[in-house]
């Protein structure tokens, strides 16, 4: 059938990008025509953000072609992208907190001038004209730090549409908008489309995607796995494209299923999330519970709250072995609970310091030469590091090597292993295998299974569905700060879990 549509404005073919050993993009195709609203969807980590950063020139692709308006291009940086006529609404809010909305709209562009000086009056008039349609009530002269998240997002949106762009890439633009703001944005997107501006629209909200977009491209594991008109696709097919054919669960296999003993962790009616909705969950000894959800669902925050790093709205709602845990991280450490934060570089490790210092930090007291003196014995610390090295197959040059010199997988092993100095009744793990190679991942999984076999209850946040299905005895799905579903990996597939995560996402917007 001959294609009668206009030639693509943007035609990406075979784009690849790797970061070290990790392949982020593995042959992505994306064709966007003038005036088209094109949805770009996929799981967390599918490669959407990397693709966008290649288009904006933040990353340089390792292979493939970007053809813009008929000519093959290398986009060197954001300024060049803007000069070509591509503008971006980024997911992270890039505003200078002390600047007003009017100032943000002019930043990095030509300032209106009078007598060689910046003409603030003209600047404000220009901003007002831009905001008139989309956000008539946005305060233009208030510093952006005093605005709501939604208003800041709106500033970012206005910035993107205030230049003459032929293509606007919107990365989760409605994630922090109120319903009214989102509707106004949708109207603007339709207007832009009618004027011939193309829009690439990234969203986790599938109802929004179906309502707004004409065409969709699905990314999975760095590949574009489907590209089709949305009219030819239903929700179930779309979700199946995103999740792929993940093997059905085998979580409990090889271990005895945990008994129905007293839960090691019980959260009961904890007011949580923006809505302060009550949240409850239990973890049995020896049970591995996966906590799945989309970015921003509140999973990390829940773990931090259980860990005592953020105040719980109700301190008695979190019970460990039947008793309330009280406040602060130190009480958890003393109870023998383990915690591995989401971002090992900024939250987990002291990168500049040695492997030894990092591995012994949480339980320094355990290495005392004499119980009464707060003097850790180096010998006992190196012995511990050695045993940890053997248990987890940790590779490092020596105890005094800076932990920054280790590979990502070995760094993660330090973060997991450093809690294993004694009995661990409970482990709270936030993306414990993110960005580690396959071998290290398997070793970490083995270590977690062994640990569970000894009776440790494990609550593990992961955005990797395959991992969740492979290791968990039970999968909880979180969306918008609520637990929206419980699944048994032995009987549920990836599609059901993913669908629950996406459906939960829409629930709040519709409520």
């Amino acid at each position: 059938m001959p294609d009668e549509r206009p030639a693509p404005l943007l035609d990406v073919t075979g784009l690849t990008k790797r970061f070290g050993g990790v392949v982020a993009l593995d042959g992505v195709d994306l064709a966007v025509r003038p005036g088209e609203v094109h949805a770009l969807v996929g799981e967390n980590g599918a490669g959407k953000s990397t693709l966008i950063k290649c288009l904006s020139g933040v990353h340089q692709p390792d292979g493939g072609r970007i053809v813009w308006a008929g000519a093959s291009r290398r986009i060197a940086g954001p300024r060049e992208a803007e000069a070509l006529g591509i503008s971006f609404i980024h997911q992270e809010l890039n505003v200078v907190p002390t600047f007003t909305a009017a100032e943000m709209l002019t930043l990095g562009r030509r300032y209106p001038k009078r007598f060689g000086l910046v003409d603030r009056g003209a600047m404000l008039r220009r901003a007002r004209a831009v905001a008139a349609d989309l956000a008539p009530d946005l305060p233009l002269t208030t510093p952006t730090f005093a605005l709501t998240a939604g208003q800041r997002q709106m500033v970012e949106i206005l910035r993107a549409i205030s230049v003459e762009a032929r293509l606007i890439v919107m990365d989760e633009p409605t994630a922090s908008l109120s319903r009214g703001e989102a509707e106004r944005l949708h109207r603007t997107v339709r207007q832009l489309s009618a004027q011939g501006t193309a829009v690439v629209y990234v969203s986790h909200r599938l109802d929004e995607v179906f309502a707004l977009c004409r065409q969709v491209t699905v990314l999975r594991n760095g590949k574009s796995v489907a590209s089709a008109p949305l009219s030819s696709m239903d929700r179930v097919t779309l979700v199946r494209h995103m999740s792929g054919d993940v093997a059905e669960g085998e979580g409990g296999i090889g271990r005895d299923r945990p008994s129905a003993a007293e839960p090691v962790l019980a959260v009961k009616d904890l007011p949580f999330g923006r809505a302060r909705a009550p949240l409850s969950l239990t973890i049995a000894p020896g049970e591995i519970v996966g906590l799945y959800g989309l970015v921003g669902a509140g999973r990390s925050r829940l773990l931090r709250t259980i860990w005592g790093a953020e105040p719980a709205a109700d301190g008695t709602a979190i019970r460990f072995q039947g008793r309330p845990l009280g406040r602060g991280v130190a009480t958890r450490v003393r109870a023998g609970i383990a915690y591995v934060p989401e971002d090992r570089r900024t939250q987990g490790l002291v990168l500049r310091h040695s492997v030894l210092a990092n591995a012994t930090l949480p339980h320094l007291r355990r290495f005392r030469a004499m119980a009464a003196l707060p003097v850790p014995a180096r010998r006992r610390m190196t012995d511990f590091l050695q045993s940890l090295g053997q248990a987890l197959n940790l590779r490092f040059a020596g105890p005094d090597a800076a932990v920054a010199t280790l590979s990502g997988g070995n760094q993660q092993k330090v973060l997991v292993g450093r809690w294993m100095a004694g009995q661990i009744p409970l482990m709270l793990l936030d993306e414990p295998t993110r960005g580690v190679d396959v071998g290290a991942k398997r070793q970490l999984h083995d270590a977690l299974r062994t640990q569970a076999g000894r009776g440790t209850g494990i609550l593990m946040v992961s955005s990797d569905l395959e991992e969740v299905l492979g290791i968990a005895d039970r999968v909880l799905v979180m969306a918008e700060g609520r637990l929206v579903g419980t699944f048994d990996p032995a009987t549920s597939g990836a599609g059901a879990i993913l669908d629950a995560a996406f459906a939960g996402q829409g629930a709040e917007a519709a409520a």
Partner: protein, 310 residues
């Protein structure tokens, strides 16, 4: 390269000493003069070692010179009023601890930038010091036993040198061998990671600020004992020099972290340069220019060496 990185500052000290030995063999190189240098650097070293505790956290305490002045005035005032030194000195040190606790609480619990918090606390303390002393130098009426804390010799070395050695040994133990010190380094390296690993971040930070102020207070007491008097801005010169010493020391021994041996080497460089140039008859203002230049040179050497190693 690694050796230059780690011991470059120490080598610089040795080179500077050898340079002065060659330039003034009859005066600088005398054993008496070298011993004298250890005495001249002692009070600065005590202040700088205290400041090291806070620098380990990646924070500044800009109130140290105000604390030195306050401790001197407070001590002399109490002693002149006839208070027993055995009571007066602990009281003064306790007041300094309190000042440190206030600064530390502002920084740790209320997240006030340490630059601002300690500048403000130091300014307030300076005002109190002036008020107590009426702006005048206080002298006379000090018991001999007290004066002997800061003058004369003990076991063949100047008494002040012994104080420096004691403080250095103590703080080195605290930072290098005690859990508290390891936690301070962790907080300075990554506060969020330390908090999530269960380190009592607030308590430890407040403790470091309190100890820093206490050591500045000890320096102020010893200064008053040595001079037999106290001036309301007597500690004024210590602030910049102490931080110069700490910065010089951060380029030594431990990669990029403040540490006691490094601070001692840094203080020694400053003291040796001052002593040597004075002996050579170089005017004081040139000494300041040179000291500044040495700090810049030390940091530049390390930066370029570090980049090549990376």
């Amino acid at each position: 390269m690694k050796i230059l990185n780690r011991y470059g500052t120490l080598l610089a000290l040795v080179a500077i000493i050898l340079g002065f030995v060659a330039a003034a063999p009859d005066s600088f190189a005398q054993i008496n003069n070298l011993v004298n240098i250890t005495q001249q650097m002692s009070l600065l070293a005590i202040v700088a070692i205290g400041a090291t505790l806070v620098m380990v956290l990646g924070q500044f305490d800009l109130s140290v010179s105000a604390v030195v002045s306050w401790a001197g005035i407070a001590t002399v005032t109490l002693l002149q009023a006839g208070v027993d030194p055995a009571l007066a000195l602990p009281l003064v040190i306790a007041s300094c601890l309190l000042v440190g606790i206030v600064s530390g609480s502002l920084v740790a619990a209320f997240r006030v930038p340490s630059f601002i918090a300690t500048l403000a606390v130091g300014t307030m303390l300076g005002g109190v010091t002036f008020w107590v002393s009426d702006g005048a130098t206080l002298f006379g009426g000090l018991p001999e036993a007290f004066r002997n804390l800061g003058r004369g010799e003990t076991l063949g070395l100047p008494t002040l040198t012994w104080w420096m050695i004691a403080v250095a040994a103590l703080v080195w133990l605290v930072l290098d061998r005690i859990e508290f010190g390891r936690r301070l380094y962790a907080i300075g390296g990554n506060r969020e990671a330390a908090m999530l690993a269960g380190v009592p971040v607030r308590r430890d930070m407040i403790g470091a600020f309190a100890l820093c102020a206490a050591f500045a207070g000890i320096a102020g007491i010893l200064l008053a004992a040595r001079l037999g008097s106290a001036h309301p801005t007597g500690g004024g010169s210590y602030l910049l020099q102490a931080y110069a010493a700490v910065f010089l020391g951060m380029t030594a021994f431990r990669d990029g972290d403040a540490n006691v041996p490094g601070t001692l080497v840094g203080t020694a460089i400053i003291a040796v340069v001052a002593n040597g140039l004075t002996i050579l008859g170089v005017p004081a203002y040139l000494q300041d220019v040179l000291t500044g230049a040495i700090i810049i040179a030390a940091v530049l050497v390390r930066q370029t060496a570090g980049r090549r190693a990376a």
